[in-house]
Symmetry: C2
Subunit: 199 residues, 2 copies
């Protein structure tokens, strides 16, 4: 029941048992969190955004929906969501290449490397880098305008949260998205601490 | 310049050099083809639908667009498309689990296993199973109705094709989607031969 920290620009990982719940809290608001879940018995099976699209016939999962793995098994069900319900399933994690393209000449912290370090902390290696479930990330999809998508600021306010239930034993990992060039973490590009609770 | 066969329900793979072109022909119409491309020098770098979304800010790439890899390098540019331009980047390959869920009691050919066999044919192993660029697959995305997506029949007619240019040396692989339960390959669920030409 202890609240655990996902430090601003940092990462965290934990193990969950089937039936446990996970609350991810946007403590100070407007912070995007890249979120991954892997089957604990075999990390080559992981929560997949593509397979979730096929299971739900939706781009954005909502309360009552179960996200699925690469073997099409349920892994995470959304029980409650006090945010506006805006999350993303079509964008990749940011990575060193992304920041190079945005003009960074020095190394920039990024969600891809954060996943690696988060799993290192619990002595695991990631077999692949899955596309994340981008919690609180606001990437509207329009079918009107040539299927365009755009980067928009996070709409989650301070204290809002999403609550999910693990459907299988799993490893979960989080990255506090350190994107401070494109204003997805609010117009001021401030990166802030967030928290999670496993119960 | 020889036309090569992607047999109905089957697969093919080939190597391409930077600058070569690839024409994928919907020979008899209404056939979906799962298409993958890997960097020839390092197959852990591959054409990624998520990274392509970020690069193009579109769900469906069109003529003039360059699909990118997991390292955000251009790998395939669309030069010409005589089909209605409907392709898919949000659905996974079909696999044995999908057909089990659709009620198949016996093994059903599927695009995931087809990729493995296609690469086997040229003595390669896939390090991961990337989400494919689903050529000619019709999965409209609606932002009006809760971001819903749906399975619709392929709109490509006999003889229509898409022409792409390789931006780096790469390995390409194709699966003739054997989906004959959900009518994505036309209302009669007929699976037919298709062809490709590397020039």
């Amino acid at each position: 029941m202890t609240q655990q920290l996902i430090p601003a620009r940092g990462y965290a990982a934990a193990r969950m048992k089937k039936g446990q719940t996970l609350k991810v809290i946007n403590t100070y608001g407007q912070q995007v969190i890249d979120f991954w879940a892997f089957a604990d018995t075999d990390m080559t099976e992981y929560m997949s955004m593509h397979h979730t699209h096929a299971a739900l016939l939706k781009i954005i999962p909502a309360v009552g929906d179960t996200l699925v793995t690469t073997k099409r098994r349920g892994i995470m069900t959304i029980l409650e969501d006090t945010t506006p319900g805006i999350h993303d399933t079509v964008m990749p994690s940011c990575d060193r290449y992304r920041y190079q393209q945005l003009g960074c000449e020095e190394y920039h912290l990024n969600c891809k490397d954060n996943l690696e370090m988060a799993l290192d902390d619990i002595d695991l290696k990631r077999p692949v880098h899955p596309a994340p479930f981008n919690l609180f990330m606001n990437i509207p999809v329009s079918d009107v305008d040539n299927n365009s998508i755009s980067w928009q600021p996070c709409q989650a306010s301070a204290g809002e949260y999403i609550l999910m239930r693990a459907e299988i034993d799993c490893v979960v990992a989080f990255s506090s998205c350190p994107q401070d060039i494109v204003p997805i973490n609010g117009p001021n590009c401030e990166i802030v601490d967030t928290h999670f609770v496993i119960s």
